[in-house]
């Protein structure tokens, strides 16, 4: 017995509504963030992650209110990502009731930002979000590269090296998304997940591709992830968090039941 593996539902928020797209297109409305957050909490979610998918300044304002409202009713850790570019953005989200922020594009454009954020607020609240895509050809050794702007913009950065560097700079956790798998429902990119999880000393959340409960188990058992994140399988009530946890427990994974 010991530390439990975590299940983290992700709420993609646009204009104060939870939405879910497939590969960042075909956005479907999934409901009110506060109501959904309460439902996940009641079902046994270990944490919640809110991603502002447009990251515009109007949306940021809306997100602050969403976080404030959720934090007054749901007493589990909350992570907020999307458009976190300045130390003042982090301060505002933490004051609103977030426990962690996920930094993505801003880390790529200026890696020192992660260092400054970790020094100011502590590593425990700095999550670096990594969007990686497979770039090696078949037969070549596997290589993944960091992409920004919802997977549209290549950066030339090697995903494993980047993850290690971000941890060195003070990231307390890595949120890893496979852009090849995101929204596909065919399962995590296990090789990518394992490569990152084994390379860094901090916890890694696996994301991108979950379509059924066995995928969650695979992410932990084969991918070595410390936590698994999924959106659509929970939003549209395909599975409940409680079901996911029971499935994981049956496979011998330690979970909080």
């Amino acid at each position: 017995m010991g530390l439990a593996k975590r299940i983290i539902p992700c709420l993609d928020v646009d204009k104060g509504r939870v939405v879910k797209g497939v590969k960042f297109v075909n956005i479907r409305d999934a409901g009110d963030p506060v109501e959904i957050a309460k439902r996940y909490d009641a079902e046994g979610a270990d944490e919640l992650t809110f991603l502002d998918i447009t990251a515009s300044s109007d949306n940021r304002e809306t997100m602050v209110h969403v976080v404030e409202e959720v934090a007054g009713q749901v007493f589990i850790p909350l992570t907020v990502g999307g458009g976190i570019r300045e130390l003042s953005d982090i301060r505002r989200m933490l004051n609103a009731g977030a426990d962690k922020v996920a930094i993505n594009t801003a880390a790529v454009s200026r890696p020192e930002f992660v260092k400054e954020a970790a020094e100011r607020f502590g590593s425990q609240c700095i999550v670096v979000a990594i969007d990686a895509k497979l770039v090696s050809k078949e037969g070549e050794p596997r290589k993944w590269e960091i992409f920004t702007h919802g997977g549209r913009k290549a950066t030339g950065l090697d995903a494993v090296e980047w993850a290690k560097r971000m941890v060195e700079y003070g990231a307390g956790e890595i949120l890893l998304t496979s852009m090849d798998r995101d929204g596909t429902k065919i399962g995590f990119d296990i090789e990518l997940t394992r490569a990152i999880c084994d390379a860094v000393s901090v916890p890694v959340i696996a994301s991108g591709g979950v379509g059924n409960l066995d995928h969650l188990v695979e992410g932990i058992v084969k991918g070595h992830a410390d936590a698994v994140l999924a959106a659509s399988i929970f939003h549209f009530a395909q599975y409940s968090i409680a079901q996911a946890k029971r499935c994981m427990a049956e496979k011998g994974i330690e979970v909080r039941l």
């Binding site: 010991g2 439990a4 007493f75 009731g97 607020f121 425990q124 307390g172 000393s201 916890p203």
Partner: protein, 215 residues
């Protein structure tokens, strides 16, 4: 009307502590760095996240060290996370930081090569997530909280009291460490009750109903 002071020294997520307290009591909750208000409160919470050097630096800059020394003499007092670590003599964080010296002992980092003793699997640091808390003593703050309940942790350092007598609970991560301390009217926890769902709210409920007496 009685009040609870949540000591604000510019570090960490004080609002979630205040929100959790709000959920379990009608008492007035003051999130404050005002010495007068803290000294006048009926009970006091010292929260905290972030680096120890910055935390202690702010506590001293705001003159709160003497205030904390005063309130721990008599009021029901709860230290949370870094607020627990700050009660010790000394922390190894940031090349060594002097702490408040209220409970004898030190604050140590988890080893870099930390591994699960049973499986030999490498363990990640920070220790992040829901782990079990094994209650070693009977205490009013454990009321209605089952043995081995899970609480949410996020920390890279842990307290090592000089003597085992203040240890109120133990948690295993590579090795057992003190996840709660109790001495007279002082209680302190390494985990975050404000982020530990119903179990955490029960602990806050117990705290607001505690008369400060230890069994």
């Amino acid at each position: 009307m009685s009040s609870i002071a949540v000591i604000d020294y510019g570090m960490g997520n004080l609002h979630s502590v205040a929100k959790a307290l709000n959920r379990v009591t009608d008492m007035r909750i003051e999130v404050t760095s005002d010495a007068e208000l803290i000294l006048r409160a009926d009970r006091v919470v010292l929260p905290g996240v972030g680096a120890m050097r910055d935390c202690m630096g702010e506590i001293k800059r705001l003159g709160l060290d003497s205030v904390i020394h005063e309130v721990v003499k008599s009021k029901p007092f709860l230290g949370v996370c870094v607020g627990m670590q700050a009660l010790m003599d000394f922390s190894e964080e940031n090349e060594g930081t002097q702490c408040l010296g209220i409970i004898p002992g030190t604050v140590q980092p988890f080893a870099r090569n930390l591994a699960d003793p049973l499986t030999n699997q490498k363990l990640k640091v920070p220790h992040m997530g829901w782990n079990q808390v094994y209650q070693l003593i009977k205490h009013p703050l454990w009321k209605d909280i089952p043995q081995d309940s899970r609480f949410y942790f996020v920390h890279s350092y842990y307290v090592q009291p000089a003597t085992p007598d203040p240890v109120a609970a133990s948690t295993a991560y590579g090795h057992p460490f003190a996840s709660a301390l109790a001495r007279d009217n002082v209680f302190a926890v390494q985990f975050h009750p404000e982020k530990s769902q119903q179990t955490g709210l029960t602990l806050y409920h117990n705290f607001v109903n505690w008369n400060g007496e230890s069994p």
